[in-house]
């Protein structure tokens, strides 16, 4: 029995043995066969290259972070001091700042993002308007981070200062979130701008999840007499919840990795306060702000900070991708 499982394998000896005459049909030329083999080779190489590249990135960054670990040990993560001259470095506050800013941004972006996704997917407005709004929200993601930073400095901070300080003077005593004064860069404007940047991710993926809810489920809910929002809150959202959850995880990952806007709006202060009005720092902003002028000692620490950031974001991104894949498979696979 001839087992044929491989297609297009060129025979070992020259073109096929067909004695048919002449006529127009020719076997593939040597050049054609070369192109065939090369295409296959290159395609495979670059595909493998993707995995290699990702591994190489992790490897290089990890390697670069070793000197700092050798020198400072565990204090790199636990210590809160940062003195360039004395070479005391601790990433505790930037790490906390990364998580804090991302959580706040996510709270805002999560609410907005899911609400927008619901509003645009459940036939509230004519289809044409849905498309317009969807495009506008997606364009939010296209604006470069540095432009958001510029806008943040000259529009958001001046706008926020009066109301924030007013709130602080009245409520600062009761809510530690509002203590202090917003004099310039701070957590509040930074987190707001961060939320704007992360919003499109959450909104787009949640939208996809909501759209792919089986119409029959929607019909069933309406058929039982649910109001629009009862159907949404009790039936549709729960069905799409895995995808929405995945979008939030991915949004979290994006928020933690965001650099420029935070570098320009947070103030690059290696101190952490729960107050939204005080400046702070994140890992990414720290690296971006300090790198140009960094002495070798600090440079090593920055590279270590990079590795920390890589570890955190890789974890979150893998988690998010898995959740979304799980959500996709749940509704029938791609």
């Amino acid at each position: 029995m001839t087992a044929i499982t491989e297609t297009f394998r060129p025979p070992a000896a020259g073109p096929g043995d067909l004695p048919m005459a002449a006529g127009i049909s020719q076997p593939p030329s040597g050049f054609d066969r070369l192109v065939d083999r090369s295409t296959r080779g290159f395609a495979w190489t670059f595909a493998a290259g993707t995995i290699v590249l990702l591994s190489f990135i992790v490897y290089e960054i990890g390697l670069a972070s070793i000197p700092a670990v050798k020198h400072h040990g565990l204090s790199l993560i636990t210590s809160g001091s940062w003195d360039v001259n004395k070479e005391y470095f601790g990433l505790r506050w930037p790490i906390l700042g990364t998580i804090y800013s991302s959580v706040i941004a996510l709270l805002i972006a999560g609410v907005f993002g899911v609400a927008i996704a619901v509003f645009l997917s459940q036939n509230f407005i004519p289809r044409r308007m849905e498309i317009v709004f969807k495009n506008i929200v997606e364009l939010l993601a296209a604006i470069p981070s540095v432009v958001y930073g510029l806008w943040g400095i000259f529009v958001v901070i001046p706008l926020l200062r009066p109301p924030a300080n007013a709130l602080a003077s009245h409520l600062g005593g009761w809510f530690p979130f509002l203590s202090g004064r917003l004099s310039g860069p701070g957590m509040l404007p930074a987190a707001l701008v961060l939320a704007i940047m992360v919003l499109p991710t959450i909104s787009a993926i949640s939208y996809d999840s909501l759209i792919s809810v089986n119409p029959k489920i929607k019909e069933a809910a309406y058929g039982l007499g649910a109001t629009r929002w009862e159907a949404i809150l009790k039936v549709i959202l729960p069905t799409a919840s895995t995808g929405i959850f995945g979008s939030i995880i991915l949004g979290f990952g994006r928020a933690m990795g965001e650099t420029m806007a935070l570098a320009m709006l947070l103030g690059n202060v290696n101190h952490f306060s729960v107050s939204l009005l005080s400046p702070g720092n994140t890992l990414a902003a720290l690296i971006a702000n300090d790198f140009p002028e960094a002495a070798p000692a600090e440079l090593d620490v920055l590279l270590f900070a990079g590795m920390t950031l890589l570890a955190i974001t890789l974890l979150v991104n893998v988690l998010g991708a898995l959740v979304i894949q799980f959500a996709n498979r749940g509704r029938g696979g791609r």
């Binding site: 044929i4 297609t7 297009f8 025979p11 096929g16 048919m20 127009i24 049909s25 076997p27």
Partner: protein
């Protein structure tokens, strides 16, 4: 089976005969000997015991109910089944004495010598001219490209309709025209054998009629094997017909050849009971 259809079949055949009387003795030359002993897709036995000789300058039809393996058998001839995961084949397909499944044979070369027209018209996303010229360029045709393209389009009875718009997209034609374009594309390289897998099933009756007439014209230059689920079509155009059926005896669905003979004999006086029942329309 009404007699008028059979009469038409007779007339058409008579016409073809008179067209080239000298070729009559060559009509018996078997160009392709397709012998399928066993054909598997993975663990699924799709076809067994099907032997169909295809003679030069004839139209051979495979008929039978759906799922009986006629397309599978046809696709064995130009090795299109190789693309299916888990395909295994015991038997041989001899093209002028050479086994198409020989160890040294390259399927790509096989397909260059045997043309195929599919059920759904599938012209490329290119101009009409480039569609027809595709095979010529693929084979590095050294002759006059324009002349050969025209000849093919004429051969497919499409030239008059498209001669002024050769640059427009192949997809801008109607369904029937697209299928004739696919036929023109297939015959441009003048393969000896043309395989057609239900070429008319996606077409309306008028387009079907045109393609059937075309097939009969082409018979003079090419050897044609078609798969059809339309009995009348087989009666109209085919010289030889093979009837395939499904064997469910062992719990699977395996196709096999029930009977193979001159079309006239299959339709008027079949030897097997199953054939008789199928012709009479007792199942489809």
């Amino acid at each position: 089976m009404n007699t008028s259809t059979l009469k038409m079949a007779d007339t058409v055949k008579a016409l073809a005969d008179t067209a080239s009387p000298g070729q009559k003795h060559r009509q018996h030359e078997v160009v392709i000997d397709c012998n399928i002993k066993e054909l598997y897709y993975g663990k699924f036995k799709a076809v067994r015991d099907t032997r169909i000789p295809i003679q030069k300058n004839t139209i051979t039809a495979f008929i039978g109910p759906s799922g009986c393996g006629k397309s599978t058998a046809l696709r064995c001839i130009n090795r299109m089944n190789d693309l299916v995961h888990g395909f295994r084949f015991d038997g041989h397909v001899h093209y002028r004495g050479v086994d198409m499944y020989g160890k040294k044979v390259d399927p790509v070369t096989v397909r260059r010598h045997i043309g195929m027209v599919f059920q759904q018209p599938n012209p490329f996303h290119m101009s009409i001219f480039n569609n027809v010229a595709f095979g010529l360029r693929l084979n590095r045709y050294k002759g006059n490209l324009h002349a050969q393209v025209e000849r093919s389009l004429r051969g497919a009875a499409l030239w008059d309709e498209v001669k002024d718009k050769l640059k427009s997209s192949g997809l801008s034609l109607s369904g029937g025209q697209q299928q004739r374009l696919c036929i023109a594309r297939a015959i441009a390289t003048e393969p000896e054998v043309l395989l057609m897998d239900e070429p008319c099933s996606a077409l309306d009756p008028i387009a079907t009629r045109r393609v059937e007439e075309l097939m009969v014209e082409l018979k003079a230059r090419f050897t044609i094997a078609i798969v059809t689920h339309n009995l009348q079509q087989a009666a109209r155009v085919a010289d030889k017909t093979g009837f395939m059926f499904v064997d469910t005896s062992k719990g699977g669905r395996t196709g096999y050849l029930v009977e193979f003979d001159d079309t006239k004999k299959i339709f008027q006086d079949p030897a097997q009971e199953a054939t008789k029942q199928y012709i009479r329309g007792e199942f489809s």
